[in-house]
Symmetry: C2
Subunit: 304 residues, 2 copies
């Protein structure tokens, strides 16, 4: 199937292009971007022009930041194409609902991807937790925003979500692996005095689960989730890449298709063949609820 | 049908008790409250004890603030009762979703009431707008928090929503009367330096609709919605009580059942007979999106 990539920045070049190149399902037939390009691939500056000129491209994968992504996604749906969305699937829940309803009404499909759910040990963690009772849990998601988003002011703009840009990855894993629904019960957000989005957040959730998100961690980066159950505990390390059960490392089941983005594109191919959407908004709802219910504390100004 | 009222404060005594007394559908069979009472009605301090002692009371109406209301609503549903919820239906969207899912699973019903939608001229406004194209609109919702919530610190606590406590009433009317879905595209929130919830908010929505919510208005109070269409304009005044179309006042169709709360209780009776829920979360989603997408400005401290 032919696919077009919209937004040729770091995530597109690092993840999407190699995943598509390695896939038997997909042919990268066009790119759309103001600046970035992929060598040897037809390039467009304008999405509307590409959609009109290339009716043979049925699927559009959008690697834009959340605020500009919505209009592009609606444009693609209204031109009769399936859309694949980087996380988070919108800047607001209202946008996400409208994308889902539009895809349903036009009998197309929208895929709200959560790449962290495709990390190697997320599925084994989910399988292990399936028959257990959750006693407590803790998420530690601490990274250096200067390293991962150098100079990207949009992450601190309204709609950029601040530290929830990485934190939503942890919440996407949590909602995937737990055998019970989880709700937010409290939050404390730290806003730099010169920014509109939080740089750190502490969350309280049901089942005695807590989370510590921080974008100011220099040196080693930490993406860990620990869950204690009535039958022992598990720890997911390195964003879901490694799993320990009761302290012992486990190995993933063999899977010919390794890597988060190759798995996302395999899933997208399934959705297109089935004519279906996959828009799980639970991680996004937890973030919205953290902004709605959270306390706000002003902290030191942040400069890249 | 027998009903119990939980939370006997100002709203219960001013609105719920008279509406139930005037209704042919309902008998107020019990109250639950730490402090308030209704003369001549069986009183309980503890919800769990009442639910156990009075299996004949099938419906529980909850007049508590959003944060304590959720646990009470879950307790009532799990005891096999229908629940009716004051607005907003939860402190978080996660709570609202779980209440709806629980009601569905147990084949009961939950009714997220929006009392302002029952104001006399909301239905005529909706009927008039049904075949028109929205050009622009403006909401002015300005009131004095000291007058309407004297000393109620919870309205400024996390989960109390601040000025969105009245503002969500305007959004409930807007989402009811418009013939098209509406989304939030921007917001500016003002937080008093000593409070955790906004005292004022300006919103931008699709269809060139704007909103101005302010809790600092002394003197005359303003609850107006103006909508311009391709075929003239309407103005809802006094929270939906009066309607002007192209500047001319209109009269409501005769309705034997006048008043917001009598209409809510009539609707609740219909839902119980049909075994259904009515949980429209669009007003709440717009509020969550305003917190998610809004800019934050610190303003003068607020003291009651």
């Amino acid at each position: 199937m032919k696919i077009a990539l919209v937004g040729i920045g770091k995530i597109a070049l690092d993840q999407h292009v190699p995943a598509l190149a390695a896939s038997d399902d997909w042919e990268l037939a066009a790119t759309v971007s103001r600046s970035g390009r992929v060598e040897g691939v037809e390039h467009w500056q304008d999405l509307g022009a590409m959609l009109e000129a290339r009716p043979d491209i049925r699927v559009i994968s959008l690697c834009l930041p959340p605020v500009p992504r919505f209009e592009a996604a609606m444009q693609a749906l209204q031109a009769g194409r399936f859309v694949m969305l980087e996380k988070p699937p919108g800047a607001t829940l209202g946008e996400c609902h409208l994308l889902r309803e539009t895809a349903d009404r036009l009998r197309l499909g929208a895929f709200a991807t959560w790449h962290s759910r495709e990390a190697a040990m997320v599925a084994p963690a989910k399988a292990w937790l399936a028959d257990k009772t959750i006693r407590r849990g803790h998420i530690t998601w601490r990274e250096d925003v200067r390293k991962w988003h150098p100079g990207q002011d949009w992450v601190f703009e309204p709609g950029g979500m601040g530290v929830f840009d990485p934190g939503i990855n942890a919440l996407s894993i949590l909602t995937e692996i737990l055998p019970v629904p989880v709700r937010l019960t409290g939050a404390a957000l730290e806003f730099p005095e010169n920014r509109q989005a939080p740089i750190a957040a502490k969350l309280r959730l049901t089942n005695a689960i807590t989370a510590d998100f921080d974008w100011r961690q220099e040196g080693p980066q930490t993406w860990h989730i620990e869950i204690e159950t009535d039958q022992g505990g598990l720890a997911l390390h390195d964003g879901g890449a490694r799993l320990k059960i009761d302290g012992a490392a486990t190995s993933p089941a063999p899977d010919a298709l390794a890597g988060e983005y190759p798995r996302l594109y395999r899933r997208m191919a399934e959705l297109v063949r089935a004519g279906r959407s996959d828009m799980d908004l639970r991680p996004m709802t937890l973030v919205a609820d953290a902004f709605l219910l959270g306390t706000r504390q002003i902290t030191d100004a942040f400069h890249f």
